[in-house]
């Protein structure tokens, strides 16, 4: 199965610290095998396009997962995986545009629900100082504060749609 995976600069796993290799010049990287039984806690982690806003990091990669895939809330876990190619479109310009889009939707939220204006002010204040993951979280929490869990989920879905469109992600990924 093809899926997506965010890594830190240098292709390092954000929680495992594992340094991934390969996936350059159109050549898949080596298979990486998880130790022990695969559960939603242990294994090679990746995600579907709808999950991307929850895991934003420096580098985005298309990966291949092998073996039975366990579905978490917002992630996929498999016994093994490898890098296929870097999604080059996830660059500094895309990260900035993504944050702007979150801010624009927060502006729309304030027009519908004026009591959310404090959240919009926070977003505008923080945007120059934090990364897109923090902006995405703030925007989703603003929506949750005034429209409940449905508002939160709708904002996260809008973020995922924006990313899929901007990054030209294949519809078959993690399907």
């Amino acid at each position: 199965m093809k899926a997506l995976k965010f890594l830190l600069d240098g292709s390092v796993g954000p929680f495992s610290g594992f340094a991934w290799t390969g996936g350059e010049h159109g050549e898949p990287g080596p298979w990486v095998e998880a130790e022990g039984d695969v559960t939603c806690k242990r294994g090679v982690h990746a995600c579907a396009p709808a999950d991307l806003p929850y895991w934003l990091q420096d580098e985005l990669w298309e990966v291949e997962l092998r073996g039975p895939v366990v579905r978490g809330r917002h992630k996929l876990v498999a016994p093994s995986g490898r890098l296929l190619r870097r999604v080059e479109a996830w660059d500094a310009a895309a990260r900035a545009a993504f944050a702007d889009a979150c801010l624009a939707r927060a502006g729309e939220l304030v027009r519908r629900q004026p009591e959310a204006d404090g959240y919009l002010a926070d977003l505008e204040r923080f945007q120059p100082h934090v990364g897109p993951a923090a902006i995405a979280s703030l925007a989703a929490r603003a929506a949750e504060a005034v429209e409940g869990r449905a508002g939160y989920e709708a904002e996260r879905a809008a973020q995922a749609d924006w990313l899929a469109g901007r990054l030209g992600l294949e519809r078959g990924v993690a399907a």
């Binding site: 806690k41 895991w55 934003l56 949750e144």
Partner: protein
Amino acid sequence: MSERTAELTCAELVELVTEYLEEALPGEELERFEEHLVYCSPCVTHVDQMRETIRTTGALREQDLDPGLADELLAAFRGWRGSPA
């Protein structure tokens, strides 16, 4: 009791950090914990500091302490227990 929010708060993360470092968090809590770390750099720093503290103190033996320092620490703890709340 208030409804649980979609995302973990920083206060909740601090409560769970020991279980996280001991790999004892259940699957869904682990996922919420790591999602929080994605967007909250102060909590990343907190987890890193806790991990480093455990690593450092785990390597420390009683005989590594200067005898004077041990006495100072014991006196400080005695004073702390006796101080008003």
